[in-house]
Amino acid sequence: MNSPMIHALDVHKRFAAVEVLKGVSLDVGKGEVVAIIGPSGSGKSTFLRCLNHLETIDRGRIDIEGETLVGADETALCRYVADSELRRICRKMGMVFQHFNLFPHLTVLQNIIEAPLTVKGLRRQDVLPKADELLRKVGLLDKRDSYPARLSGGQKQRVAIARALAMEPDIMLFDEPTSALDPELTGEVLRTIRELAEERMTMLVVTHEMAFAREVASRVVFMDGGEIVEARPAKELFAAPEHPRTRAFLENML
């Protein structure tokens, strides 16, 4: 069997006195769409941020496409690979944030081509067709030369998705992509994510959108108190949650 796209084993993370992750293990296979749900403070965003080294873990192991990002070795419980390796491996993952984090001094197009130019060293004329294609895909070709401040929240998030895709990642991480949006704008962003799912992009989505999770995710992970309580195919988990905590959470959400 091929190695999973993401292999996280017994991941521990502590912020000062608070243990945010108490041994989280999760495998994500190619083309899988995994939704992570759970109450706020359950550690779901932190777990996502650990996967691409926005947070460093205290113990455990993370492999991305079979390559070790961090793990135990002879001398330490948890050691990250060298910096250049780390960056190379993390580049396999694109990420979309709750607050977009677009670059306000760059136009939509410049936001998208910045990393391909600077990081990959590609030439402008080689990335422009791809950038236009991505903009067409997220339905924002007409906003190509606008600055982010001129866009609605939903448009900003779609630019952020296009920007992440421009680096041609194998995995997309979404950290509450619709939580900062007005309710009427979430639809357009979710539609874009759904289209990616249809293209068999491997995705890990931290979300509060239960309907979206049920419909798009192949598997749903319920986290609470820094651990995974339940991880099952979406339909099963929503239809018949096994754990009382999952049940209580879902009842609260509906």
């Binding site: 926005l54 960056r87 944030f97 600077t118 990081v119 401040a149």
Partner: protein
């Protein structure tokens, strides 16, 4: 009016000295200040502590004292003892002093940039240097234009301090004529000169602010 024309020569000469000190200081102190600021926000406590101490020293003592020290006392300092010509001594003092002030402006600007910008750049694969050069600093320049303008206008006027090293800047030239001719007209002309210089600077900074206004945040 004839009198004004008559004193114009020495006053223009003084303006030349003033402008030289201003331009050289500005051109050197801004990049030096930026370097200091980048070191100041460094992860290494020793580096940022050292820069902190330097800024404290430079902002905590009078510029005039620093100038006098570099010109008169530096030659007697063991090991690095060196005698600088008066103009060079003045420039060194101005650059060291103003770099500290500019550094604090840059630092405030750098620290005002949201952490999300660093994270956004990081997940796209940009290194720290690339993030600074391409993402953070361009936004910093826009934000710090108003305080930069302020500090730079102060620099124009501070150049008059070089009179303590007996150099004939605009103000000293004016004062010389006042004492010789027993009239305050040269002061008024000098004031007009300063006003023109600071007006040009103000306009230049306004132009930059307008240029950067193409994007909001």
């Amino acid at each position: 009016m004839d009198y004004v024309m008559q004193i114009m020569g020495p006053l223009l000469e003084g303006t030349g000295v003033t402008l030289q000190v201003f331009v050289i200081t500005f051109v050197l102190a801004v990049p030096f200040g930026l370097c200091l600021a980048l070191l100041r926000v460094s992860r290494f406590a020793a580096v940022s502590g050292l820069v902190n101490g330097y800024i404290w020293l430079m902002r905590g003592t009078p510029l005039m004292l620093q100038m006098l020290f570099i010109y008169f006392a530096l030659p007697f300092v063991p090991l690095i003892g060196i005698r600088l010509p008066d103009f060079t001594a003045a420039i060194v003092a101005f650059v060291l002093n103003y770099a500290a002030y500019y550094a604090e402006i840059f630092r405030a600007g750098i620290q005002s940039i949201d952490r999300g910008q660093y994270e956004g750049a990081r997940v796209l694969g940009l290194s720290y240097t690339q993030t600074m050069r391409r993402i953070v600093l361009p936004q910093v320049f826009k934000r710090i234009l108003p305080p930069m303008s302020n500090e730079t206008i102060t620099l124009v006027k501070d150049t008059s301090l070089i009179y303590v090293l007996a150099m004939n800047d605009l103000l000293r030239a004016a004062r010389g004529i006042v004492q010789r001719d027993f009239t305050t007209t040269p002061f008024i002309v000098a004031a007009a000169f300063y006003l023109v210089m600071t007006l040009l600077l103000t306009l230049a900074f306004q132009h930059l602010e307008k240029k950067y206004a193409v994007y909001d945040e």
